[in-house]
Amino acid sequence: MKNKKIKVESINNNRRRFLKMSGIALAGSGILLACSNDDDFTPIDPAPDPDPNTFDLGGGDLGVLNYAYALEQLEAEFYTRVVNGSYWNGAASEEKQILQDLYNHEVNHREFFKAALNANFDADLVLPESLEFNFESVDFSNRNSVLETAQLLEDTGVKAYNGAGKIIETAAYLVIAGKIVSVEARHAAAIRSIRGNDMGDFKLFAGDDAVDPNTGLDGAEDPSVIIDAAGGFIVTPFTANQLP
């Protein structure tokens, strides 16, 4: 199939192009090529054991990319379950389209970070691609439960990227984080807008609970705060010891 062929060809291409993004990348990629096939990931034991083998996200650009990859995996998994759930299946067309779009965007983001990390860093340093999540608190057959969780995740994503910007060392990565965070903010506003309409609160899209009405500023939180807040959804343990 034509698509597959393009995809295969572009992987090498992608790796090479990614290298231009930072000096650190060259070293990482060299190791990656040298190590060839021993990058198969061994799943981390989900037991909450302070195992020295627990994956640490790392610091600097690597840490932020792994962190973003974790958040995008969380969002992508959430929307995957949404579009396979009964609420979405019977939802009004506007909501159905919005949630389908959010699924599309988050899966794209997830795969972008996977590709960026693998092209730039040794496989041992890249967050595993199948983090396990727990969405027991969400009822995917219930509209309010789905929309409330979507709002929480999108708002959290905005705060996370806003807070992580200062940790990024390479301008190209900062720009990409910027390209993604504004889309997360567009998502957050759309979900809030739907919920606000229900409540008769037409200001909820950028409500005072999200945007400080005195400064006009959105939230920004350090990774430690975000990981703590999202912890209820994340089963696979990892640490962020080198991030603020």
Binding site: K7, N104, F112, G178, A185, F202, K203, L217
Partner: protein, 281 residues
């Protein structure tokens, strides 16, 4: 063509355009936009003859320049929303929704002006003065229904201009982020404004019946052709050197999804060109 000649021509074209239909007004705006873009290319920011840009030009650091540009764009937005709220045009939406949305956005844009002014002062810099704005773009528009275009047309223009300003703001802040690297406080604050502009953009787009995100370089139904400058480049699918449509298969990797998932930057010059259509002096 230098910018002064351009502005002269802009003014004379307005005069001959009074009372034109909305479609005519929009197409006039379109041709003016092309001239604006052409005028801006060879000369860049240095030739823009308003106080804001002149002051920006003489600042020594990239970061201060970025903040002054941001302040200019915030002046524009803040002034636009205040005038919108002071007109009766938003009553065209009988539900009160449009008015509530504009109130909330206005609150934020005015706060951004104060925040940026205070930040510049704290850095020992003089904030640029507020330019004089003309949201009719010299008579091409009548968003506040001051010239008798009628409430319905004014309302459509009021929404279209808001969308253009918000989508421009998102791209402009993103384009300046690199200039603020190394100053954690400034960078974080700029990012915190940037995502608020994106929330605004999403809601205004939805109020206009569009999706909250940008597909390809589509400006969306009902947007004047000239606002295309706001959307050019949004069709990019190469992120970090990689074609993101190749990262998988299925709906997340279509051209549409791959462009919607990433907002693009614009340069200071591009943002200035767009804003200059509404700046008198």
């Amino acid at each position: 063509m230098n910018i002064i000649k351009f502005l002269d021509e802009f003014t004379s074209e307005n005069l001959s355009n009074k009372g034109s239909s909305r479609r005519d007004a929009l197409s006039t705006f379109s041709s003016l936009g092309k001239k604006a873009a052409l005028a801006a290319v060879p000369f860049g920011m240095a030739t823009v003859t308003n106080k804001a840009k002149a002051a920006t030009m003489f600042q020594s650091t990239e970061a201060v320049g970025a903040l002054q540009l941001a302040l200019t764009l915030e002046y524009l937005e803040a002034s636009f929303y205040l005038q919108a709220l002071n007109s009766n045009v938003l009553d065209e939406d009988g539900t009160g929704k449009a008015n509530a949305i504009y109130e909330q956005i206005s609150l934020h844009e005015s706060a951004h002006v104060t925040l940026l002014q205070d930040t510049l002062v704290s850095l020992g810099e003089t904030p640029v003065d507020e330019p004089t704005f003309d949201f009719t773009a010299g008579g091409s528009f009548d968003p506040f229904n001051e010239n008798g275009t009628g409430q319905a047309t004014a309302y459509a223009q009021l929404l279209a201009l808001a969308q253009a300003f918000e989508d421009t703001g998102v791209r402009a802040y993103k384009g300046q982020a690199g200039a603020l690297m190394g100053n954690d406080v400034l960078l974080t604050a700029a990012l915190q404004i940037h995502s608020v502009e994106a929330r605004h953009a999403s809601e205004i787009r939805r109020l206009r019946g569009l999706q909250g995100w940008i597909t390809g370089n589509e400006r969306g139904a009902g947007m004047p052709a000239d606002t295309q400058a706001v959307y050019n480049g949004e069709e990019n699918i190469i992120q970090g050197g990689v074609d993101v449509t190749t990262l998988g298969s299925g709906s997340p990797f279509t051209f549409d999804s791959s462009t919607e998932a990433y907002d693009e930057t614009i340069t200071a010059d591009e943002a200035t060109t767009i804003a200059s259509l509404f700046i008198v002096s």
